[in-house]
Amino acid sequence: MLLRRQLSLAIRRPIEIGNPLVFFAIVVAMFPLGIGPASEQLAMIAPGAIWIIALLSSLLTSDSVFRSDFDDGSLEQLLLAPQPLYLSVLAYLCAHWIVTGLLLALVSPVFALMLNLPAAAVGTLVVSLALGTAVLSLVGGIGAALTVGLKRGGMLISLLILPLYIPVLIFGTAAVQAAVSGSPAGPFLALLGAMLSLAIALGPLATAAGLRISIDA
């Protein structure tokens, strides 16, 4: 229910879905401009660059997950509703993941080609981004819940959340780099999956507690 509501809200504002993708494309274009168009150099930084851009676009959008519902009071209603807040929060974050992370993962092959990533690694890139951005959405939700009541939350959320993104970044790029060099990427993807299951179990709890605090304040 809630998931469908969030998704239809997102679909009715296609600009907001498009923005992270355009952001992704622009930042990808910055790399050759800043580093130089030599293709082997670009291929070397491609896994890290794509992952860092995905991280930033997830961070920038997670700030607004709860904000509009906080402002118009429907979040408060949700807290009073009989269904467990854990599941409602999970629905919010799942919707966030679908419109940012999953979409990014699906279009990432285009950007991978722009940065000259070897074609053999593209499949791994998509899978690792899909798994990793789900963790990012769940962790970002904690930061969003804690800062939703604050006027100047935008900068703060990056300070709170970016250190927690580090393991995802490490294993995500490691998976892609393993695929580039021809070694098996499975173990890294398994680790991302393990982090995802931990994040699903614990993240919404912290997010729900954070929302209660923000509503009380």
């Binding site: 703060l156 250190p163 294993f171």
Partner: protein
Amino acid sequence: MWSFFHKLGSPPWLYDIAGSILRWLLPVTIMALLVGAVWGLLFTSPDFRQGNSYRIIYIHVPSAVVALAGYYVMAIAGAVSLIWRMKMADVAMKAAAPIGAALTFIALFTGALWGKPTWGTWWEWDARITSMLILLFLYLGVVALYEAFDNKEAAGRACAILSLVGMVNIPIIYKSVDWWYSLHQPASIKFSGESAIDSSMLYPLLLMIGAFYALFTCCLLMNMRAELVQRESRTAWVRKLVKQNGAH
């Protein structure tokens, strides 16, 4: 037993007990710091490979050890304040964050100073250095989140959640940074093996670690006292305190 816990919830009692602990702990800490520093800096033999530059270990290692322990103090205090709604635990958590951040910074800074003569570089993306840098960011996040809230009670609870999330994440971050470091196989660092540290160097180091723990406790208690007075500035006991101190 229970009356002790009830008293812990009382600000004037905590203020007094922290004061009387400080009265003997502070001189002991200063003595230990002085003895440890003089012992370590003047009376130990220079390392045969690093010469005298290794002596910064007497600042570097204790601050790093206590900085790590400080995060757990902060997170546990945060958990206590969340679970039992103990206001004094909230005060302790708020007091611990800036001290931990300062110690982490000292550890990084002395590490850079030590790295220059021994490794030939100020900064190296080594697993432990990177982890300490991330720890600094985690501390700064808690401090910044606390400052961002106008409602200080909500600020305390928000920081408690953040520090708990950080505590769950610290082992994961450390392990992954370790992994990242071994994956990338950077140019080998010539870190002269100090695994067999000589006892003449070890004892002053242990003394300094103890002294830094005591220093952390002193700073924590002083910060807590300041925070208590500030929070309770409208109550009768603080007014009485101000009057007493104004009298002499």
